[in-house]
C-alpha cells in the first residue's frame, strides 16, 4: 500500500467521523449506506472521496457536512460534535464554518456574481472582509464579471463563483459534491486548480466527492469507499494510480 503521509503537513483535524453509520429502512428493506466509517480530514489538506455508485461516498460527505443525519457514531467539525445539534444549530454551523460547492444549482439566478459570493455572510448579517474578498475574487479571476447574473456566465464561470463563495467566508472546511461533474475538462481543471491553490496557498481544508480519477489526482489524498466502508486510501495520487486502484476494485467486485 502507498500510504505514506505527506511530509511537513500539520496533523490538526478539521473534521472527524468516528464509527459513523447510516442505515435506511428496516427489516427486509434495510440498507446500510455507511458501515462504521472512521475517517479524519486534516487541516490544510485536499481530500477526494471516491467509490462506485452506491458506495456511500456522497452520504459520507453529507453526514460530515451536517446536511444529513446519521444513525450512530459521531461527527466533529473542529471542536463541535454534530450528533447533538438541532436543525437551527446545524444551519448556523454550516453558515459559519462550512463552505459548499455543488454539482449544479449552485447560484441564485436573481443575484449578481458578487451578491452570490457574499450570500453566506449576508445571511449571517456579517460584513465581508474586503481585502480577503478581493484576494479570493482575484484568485478565481472574476474581477470583471462581478455585476453579471448567473445566466450571463458560462458554466465554468458559474462554478468559479461558487468556489469564491465557499472561500469568501473563510470556513473551517469546504465540501464539494462532484464540483466538476457538469463542466468540460478545461473548466473543470481550472476549478480544481483553484481548490488546490486554496489549500496550498491559503491553508484551506477541502473535501471533495468525485468519480473522476483526473479530478481526484488534484487532491493530496484519496479515500476509497465501497459498500459503505473505507477500503483504501492513497496519498499524493496521480490519475493513473487512482485508475489502477479503481480497476482493482472493479475486478474484485466482479469476482466476489
Amino acid at each position: 500500500m502507498t500510504t505514506t503521509p505527506t511530509a511537513g503537513r500539520t496533523t490538526a483535524v478539521a473534521a472527524r467521523a468516528t464509527e459513523l453509520s447510516k442505515i435506511y429502512g428496516q427489516g427486509e428493506t434495510r440498507v446500510v449506506a455507511l458501515d462504521r466509517v472512521s475517517v479524519d480530514f486534516r487541516q490544510a489538506e485536499f481530500t477526494a472521496i471516491m467509490g462506485p455508485s452506491g458506495s456511500g461516498k456522497s452520504t459520507l460527505m453529507h453526514c460530515v457536512a451536517g446536511l444529513d443525519s446519521f444513525s450512530s457514531g459521531s461527527v466533529r467539525i473542529g471542536e463541535t460534535e454534530l450528533g447533538s445539534l438541532k436543525d437551527r444549530q446545524l444551519t448556523k454551523l454550516r453558515r459559519d464554518k462550512i463552505g459548499f460547492i455543488f454539482q449544479a444549482f449552485n447560484l441564485l439566478p436573481t443575484l449578481t456574481a458578487l451578491e452570490n459570493i457574499t450570500l453566506p455572510m449576508d445571511i449571517a448579517g456579517r460584513k465581508a472582509d474586503k481585502a480577503w474578498l478581493d484576494q479570493v475574487i482575484q484568485m478565481v479571476g472574476l474581477s470583471g464579471r462581478l455585476s453579471h447574473r448567473p445566466s450571463q456566465l458560462s458554466g465554468g464561470q458559474q462554478q468559479r463563483v461558487a468556489v469564491a463563495r465557499a472561500l469568501a467566508s473563510k470556513p473551517e472546511i469546504i465540501f464539494g459534491d462532484e464540483p466538476t461533474g457538469n463542466l468540460d475538462s478545461r473548466s473543470g481543471a481550472e476549478v480544481l486548480g483553484f481548490l488546490r491553490n486554496s489549500v496550498r496557498e491559503l491553508g484551506q481544508t477541502v473535501v471533495m466527492v468525485t468519480h473522476d480519477p483526473v479530478a481526484a489526482a488534484y487532491a493530496d489524498r484519496v479515500v476509497f469507499l465501497a459498500d459503505g466502508r473505507i477500503v483504501d486510501e492513497i496519498y499524493g495520487p496521480t490519475a493513473d494510480s487512482v485508475l489502477d486502484l479503481m480497476k482493482q476494485f472493479d475486478a474484485k467486485g466482479r469476482t466476489s
Binding site: D87, R95, D96, L108, L119, D122
Partner: protein
Amino acid sequence: MFRTALRNVLAHKARLLMTVLAVMLGVAFVSGTLVFTNTISDAYQKSSAKGFDHVDVAVRAKYQESKGNQVGKDAKLTRTLLDRAAKAPGAASATGVVTGFTAIADKDGKLLGGGWQSAGGNYAGPKDARYPLVSGHAPRGKDEILIDSKTADRAGYKVGDTVRISVDGPVLTPRISGIFTTDDGNVAAGGSLALFDTPTAQALFGKKGTYDEIDVKAAAGTSQAALKAGLDKALPSHLVETTTGKQLADDQAQMISSSMSGLKQSLLVFAGIALFVGTFIIANTFTMLVAQRTKELALMRAVGASRRQVTRSVLIEAFVVGTVAGVTGLVAGIGIGAGLRSLLGSFGASMPDGPLVITPGTVVAALAVGIVITVLAAWLPGRRAAKIPPVAAMSSVHAQATTKSLVLRNTFGALFSAAGVAVVLAATSMDADAAQGPMGLGAVLLIIGVFILTPLLSRPLIAAAAPVLRVFGVSGKLARQNSVRNPRRTAATASALMIGLTLITGMTVMAGSLQAAIDKMASSAVRADYVVSMANRGPLSPDVAEKLASVDGVTASSPLRNAESRINGETEFLTGVNGPVIGELTDLKVQDGRFKVGGTQVVVDKDRAKQYGWRAGSQFTAHYEDGKAQKLTVAGIYEGNDLLNGIIVDDKAITPHLKDPADMQVMVKTADGASSATKDKLEKALGSNPAIKVQDKQDISNDIAKMFTMMLNMVYGLLGMAVIVAVLGVINTLAMSVFERSQEIGMLRAIGLDRKAVKRMVRLESLVISLFGGVLGIGLGVFFGWAAGELLGTKMPTYELVLPWGRMTVFLLLAAVVGVLAALWPARRAARLNMLAAIKAE
C-alpha cells in the same frame, strides 16, 4: 391522448388543488344563488297561492284617470255593489275587504316589525273564513281587535290584553278579542296583521262605507270563469273590474318570480366577478404546468404529436379539472342554498317553508360554468404549449418569457389604459344619464389596460418597497427579487386581488361621498329641529300637526300636506305648509322674487318654473279633487332638492278642498333646540305612538348612515368571495414558486439559511404581491369612485368627493393579512423541504 391528460391531472393533484377550489367557489356561488332564489321563489309562490284559496273572483274599483282639469280618483266599492255581487248568478257569498296600515306596539311601547310590514284589515261578519280563530271571538266595535298568532307569540300577547296601536297618528288602545292564523305572505315574511270589525276598519282607514276589494266565493259547481262572467254582467263595468282567483295567484307568482329574478341577477353579477378572478388562477396554473412540463411536451412533439394534439391534451386536462370543480361546486352550492335559508331564518327574517328546489337548469348551469370557464382560461396556455419546439426536449433550460413580448404587451397595455382614462374623463363632463355607458366602457378599458400593464408596473412599485424589505436582511432581499422574477405570474396573481379591491374601494368611496352629500342636503335645507313622520312613511292625520303645534316650547311647526291637483292639464302634487313660519323651518335658496307663502301666494322650484314658463308674479290656476279651482300667484322661485321641491302653498288654501287631509311630515322648531328632553316631550304629546317617528337631524343622518352601512356591508360580503378566490390565487402562485425553486431553497438551506429565514422569505414575497395588488386596486377604486362621483355631482349640488382614509387603510391592511395568510402553507412547505433531495433533483 385522453389517458395522458388524465394521468397528468392525477399526477398534479396537489398543484391543481387551488385551481379546483377557485373554480369550485365560483360555481358554488352560481349554483347556490340559483338554488336559493328558486327555493324561496317557490315557497313564496306556494304561500301566496294559499292566500287566494278563499277568493274565486275579486272585484276591484277602477281608477278614473285624470282628465283635463279633473283630478283622477278610484271608483267607490259601496255596500250596494257588495250586495249586488253577492246576488250575482253563481255567487255563493261576497266579502267586502278593507286594508290599511296598522302599527302594533310591543309591551315596551316599541313598534313590532319593520313598519313597512305592519298591515291592518277587516274581519267580516261573525265568522270570516279567511282568518280561522285560534282563540277568542270576532271583534265588535272600535275597542276590539284581532291579531295574528305569530305576532301574538312574538310579543307575548294573549286574548284580553290591551294593546297600543296606531293607524295614522292618534294612539288607540283596543282589547285583543281573539287571535287568528293566516297564510298571508306579509305575515309569513315577518310582518304583523291586525283586524277590526268592518265599520271600524272603514272608519280607521278613511274609507267610510266603502271597500278596497270584494271577494266573491262561487256556488258549488260554478267555475271561476263562469262566476266572473256572471259578475261582469251584474256589476257596472265602468266602475269595477273582476279577476279570477287563479289569475290573481298567477299574477302574484309572476310578480314574485320577477322580483326574485332581480335578486338572482345581482347575485349572479357578484358570482361572475368571483369566476372572472378565478380565471386568472386557472390561466396561471396551466401556464406554470406547461412551463414545468416543457421537456415532456417537447418529447411528445418529437415522437410525432401534432401541435393540435398538444393543445388538446392541455384542454382535456382543463376539462377534467373543470368537471371536478363543477360537480363539487354544485354540491357546495346546494349546501349554501340550504344553509342561507336557515341562516336568514336565524336572523329573524322569517320565510315561508318549502322544499329545496334544484332544477335541471341549475345542474346544467353549474357544470357548464365550471367547464367552460376552466377550458377558456386554459386555452392560451394550451396554445403556448403547442409552440414548444421538439428540440426543447434536448435542452435543459425551461422556456423563458422573452422581453420582446413584454414590449408588445406594454404597448397594448398603455394604449388600453390611456383610452380608458380618456373615455372616463370625457364621460365625467357629459350629461349624467348619457354618460353611464361611456363611463362603464372606460372603466372596463382601464381595468384591462392596467391588468396588461401590471408586469411593467410591478418592477417600480415593488422596488419602492425595497427600503422596507431591507430591514428583513437576506430574506427581504430575496423576497423582493423573487417577486419580480416572473412579472407575468406576479401580475396575474396581484390582478386577481386588484379586481376585488377596486370594486370594494370604488363602492366605498362612492357610498361615503353620497352619504355625506345626502346628509348635507338633509341638514342644510332644513332649519327645523325635528321632523315627525309615520314609521312606514305613510300619511299622518292632521291631528298630529295640531297636537305638535300646541306643545309647550314649540316655536314653529308646519305640516307638509299633500294635495293632488291639475295645472295646465298636468297632474301636480302641491305641498301645503304653514305659510307664516315655513321660512323659519327651511333654508331654500331663492332665485327670483321672494320666499313668501300665504293666502294665494306660492313659491315654486326652478324645474317647475322652467317647465311652465313662470316667473315671480306669474299666475296660474290649480284644480283640486273636489272640482273647485283656485288662482295662485308665484311669489318666488327657489332651488329644490330631493326633500323639498315642487309647488309650495299655504295649507289653509288647500285644506278646504281635501276630503281626507293627510300630511307626509311635520317639521318642528323648538325654543331649546334638539335634545333628548325635548324629544321626549314631543313623543309624550303624541301619546308615545309606536307608529310615529320623531327624528332630529342626527337621527335622520344616522338613518341615512345605517342604510349606507347596510348596503356597503352587503356589497363587501358579496365581493368577499372574489377576494377569497384571489387569496387562493396567491397561495397557488406561492406553492408553485416554492415547488419550482426547491433546488435553490435547498442550496440556501445548505449554505446556512435557517428554516425561519426561508419561511420569512416566502411570507415577504406573498406580502409584496398582495400589497402590490392592494395598492393597484385601491388606486383604481379611488379613481372610479371619483369619476362616478363627478357624474352624480351634476345631479346633486351638495356632492363632493370624500376619501375614506380609514377604510382605505383597513383595505391595505386586509391585503397584507391576505398575503400573510396565503403564505402560511407554502412557507411551511418551503421550510420543511428536504435539502438533499432538493439539491440533487435535476
